[in-house]
Amino acid sequence: MAGQHRRSTARILATATAALTVAALAGCAGGSGGVNSDYGFATADQEDGSTITVWVDAAREPVAKAFEEANPDVPISIETYDGNAGGSGSFQTKVALFDQSGEGWPDVVFSTQTNDASWAAKETNGVQAFAAPLNKGYFSDDFLAGFTDGANDPMTVDGSVYGLRNDLAPVVLWYNQKLLDEFGYEIPTTWEEYEAMGEKLAAEHPGYILGSIGDSFVGTYVYYWGAQAPIFALDGNTFSSDFDDPYSVAMTEMLDSMAANGSLVQDSVFSAPFVENYSDKIVAMPGPAWYAGALFQNPDSVNAEPGTFGAADPLYWEGEDEVTGNVGGGVWYASSHSKNLAAVETFLEFATSSEESAELNSGLPAYDEAASTWLDGQAASGFFAGDFKAAVQKASGSVWGGWGFPSFSPETAYAAVVVPALAEGKTIADVVPEWQEQILNEAQVQGYTVE
C-alpha cells in the first residue's frame, strides 16, 4: 500500500517536472523570438491606439498630466508609485512579478534612481529585458544627440541606451544671501572653508545650520561622492568600497566634527521638523540642483522668499580636482513589451524635451534645449540670488566619475547603519566598519566580486 502510494507520488513529481521543462522551453523560445530590425529588439505585436500605462512618482505626475492634455488622441493611464525612491527596489520587484506572469508590464516607467539599467537591461529567467534599447532604430539619433553629453551614460550598456535621463542632478552649494550678509560670512568654496564656517557658526550663531546628514542620499551622494571618496566603486564586475582612502577619511572626520558642533543636523530635509525648525536657519547647504524646485520654491517645504537663496559652485578639497557629486536625476524607461511603441515614443519625447516639461521640471533637464529653457526661466524669474545659471552649468560639467552604478543602491546601507547610529548619538567613524561590511555584503548578494 505504502509502496504504491510512493510510486504514484513519484509519477506526479515526474509529470510536474516534465510540464515545467516544457513551460521553460516555451518561455525561452518566446524570449528569443525574431528581432524587429526597425527597433533592434523583439517587439510585441503592436496595437495602434491601445492605452499606454505610465508609472510616475508624485513629482512627475504633472508632466504626465500635461501630456494627456496636449495629446488627447493618445490614450494614457497614469499610475503613481514611490518612484523607486531611496533604493526601495519597487520598480524591480514589480517588474519581476510581471515577468513571472508574462503580462501586465507598464509601457513607461519613471525611476528616481540612475542604476536600474544594471538589471532592466538584462534578460532574467528567460524573459526579455524589460527596458527597450532606444538607439538601435527606435528613437532618432537626432533626438538622442540632444541630451547633455554623458547624461545617458549610466543607462548605457555595451553601446545600447536603455533609458532617457529626465534631469541632471549635480551637487551645488546652496546659500542664504541674507544670512551671510547679516553674519558677515563669505560663501565657502572648499570643504575646508565649509568646515571652518561650521565651527564659527556654532560658536557665534548656534541653531543655524549648514545642512543635514539624516538623509541617505545626502550622506552618500552629496558628501562622499562630492569628496571623491571611493566607497562605492565598480570596475567591470568587481565592486570595492574603500573607507581608508584619504578622501574617505577626511570626509568622515569633517561630517563627525560638524555633526558634533551642531552645524549639521539629523532631520531629513523632507521631514516636517526640518521644514519647521530650519527653513530660515539654513546658512549654506550642499545639495543637488533639484533642491531648487523640491525645497526652496516648494510651498510645502522651505518656501523661501525670492532673492534669499542662491546656488554657488560646488565645494571641493583645497588644491584638488574641482569635482562634485550627483544625486540621482530621474530616468525614463520604455518597456520592450509595449504594444504601442509609437505612443511611448511620443510620450518620452514630450516628457524629456518639450517646453512644458522644462517648465514643470523641478531640476535641471538633461535635454540641452530644455535645460536652457529651464535655466533662462530660473534666471528671468529672479528667484535665486547670484549667478545661478553659471553655478549649475559648472556643476553639471564636473561630476566625479569614480562613483559606481551597480544593481543596488548605496542608500540602503547608509539608512540601515549610519542613520540609526547617529540617532543613538554615535559618530560615523564609530560605525564605518559596520557600514562598509553592509555595503560589501549587499554587493556580494547581488553577485559582484568583492575586493
Binding site: 514611490d82 531611496g86 519581476a96 541617505s216 532631520d267 521631514s271 521638523p273 542608500e411 540609526p420 553577485g447
Partner: protein, 255 residues
C-alpha cells in the same frame, strides 16, 4: 519542489546551504523568534485576563460595549492599520508624543530603532488581533456549565480561585488553539516591517523578517529557488512548534 532545484535541475540541499550562508538569514531568524516569543506570551496573558474580566462584568450593556470596542481595531486590516501606526510612532505628529518622549524618543528614527521593533510589532499585532480572540475566549467561558461555577462558589472559591482552578483549565484547548493560529501568523511577519521600512526610508531594514528575505530573494535577486527554501524552513519550524502546542494543549483530546 522549487526549494530543491536550480534552473530545473535537482541540486539537493544547495539552496538551503546558500540561504544559511546569506548574511541576512540569521539576523532575520533572531528578529522573528524574538517577536514571536514576546507576542505569544503577551497575547496569551492579556487575552485570557481581559476575557475573564469582561466575563465577570455583570452589567449587561457594559459587557457588550466593551466586547464591541475590543473588536473594532480588528476590522482595520493589515497595511492600513500600519499606516495608522506610522502616525502614532512619529513624535512629530503623534497624538501620544508625550508617551514616546517619556521613553526618550525624540524622532521617528529613534522610535523605530531595531531594538524597539519586536515591541512595536507586538503592539500593532495585539491591537489588531486581540479583540477577536477576546470574543472567542468569552464564548469559551460561556460554555462552562453554570453548575460547575456555582459548585465552585459554594465551595468558597473567589473570582481568582474560580479563574485559576476552573475557568483557565477548561479554556486550555482554546488557548492552545489561539497559540497555534497566532504562531502561524507571527512567523509570517511581513506587512508591518515592509511598510515601516518604506516609511522610514530604509532605517527599518528591508530584510528584517524571514518572509521579507524570501521576498527579496524572489523579486530582487530573481532567485525563486532560494526563496522557496526559506519558505519551506519557515513551514517546518512553524509546524514543529504548532505540534508542540497541539499535544501540550490537548487540542484533539476528547473527554
Amino acid at each position: 519542489m522549487l526549494a530543491f532545484t536550480k534552473n530545473g535541475a535537482f541540486v539537493g540541499i544547495d539552496n538551503f546551504v546558500k540561504v544559511f550562508a546569506d548574511y541576512r538569514f540569521w539576523p532575520a531568524v533572531q528578529h522573528v523568534a524574538l517577536f514571536v516569543a514576546i507576542w505569544l506570551v503577551s497575547l496569551t496573558l492579556l487575552v485570557v485576563l481581559l476575557a475573564l474580566l469582561v466575563h465577570a462584568i455583570r452589567v449587561r450593556w457594559l459587557s457588550s460595549v466593551s466586547r464591541f470596542l475590543f473588536y473594532i481595531p480588528g476590522a482595520l486590516a493589515g497595511a492600513s492599520s500600519v499606516m495608522l501606526w506610522l502616525f502614532l510612532l512619529d513624535p512629530a505628529v503623534s497624538p501620544v508624543a508625550g508617551i514616546l518622549q517619556l521613553f526618550g524618543f525624540e524622532t521617528f528614527v529613534q522610535t523605530v530603532s531595531i531594538d524597539n521593533l519586536p515591541v512595536i510589532f507586538t503592539l500593532i499585532a495585539f491591537w489588531a488581533g486581540a479583540g477577536g480572540w477576546i470574543i472567542i475566549m468569552y464564548g469559551a467561558l460561556n460554555n462552562i456549565p453554570v453548575e460547575v461555577m456555582e459548585a465552585a462558589r459554594i465551595d468558597g472559591a473567589g473570582p481568582i480561585g474560580t479563574a485559576w482552578h476552573i475557568q483557565i483549565p477548561l479554556m486550555r484547548k482554546w488557548i492552545s488553539y489561539m497559540a497555534v493560529m497566532s504562531l502561524a501568523a507571527g512567523t509570517q511577519l511581513f506587512v508591518e516591517p515592509r511598510v515601516l521600512s518604506q516609511a522610514s526610508k530604509g532605517v527599518v531594514p528591508p530584510d528584517y523578517s524571514l518572509n521579507q528575505l524570501a521576498y527579496l530573494f524572489a523579486f530582487r535577486q530573481n532567485d525563486f529557488n532560494g526563496s522557496a527554501a526559506i519558505s519551506l524552513l519557515l513551514l517546518v519550524v512553524a509546524a514543529g512548534l504548532s505540534a508542540l502546542f497541539v499535544f501540550r494543549g490537548g487540542l484533539f483530546e476528547r473527554e
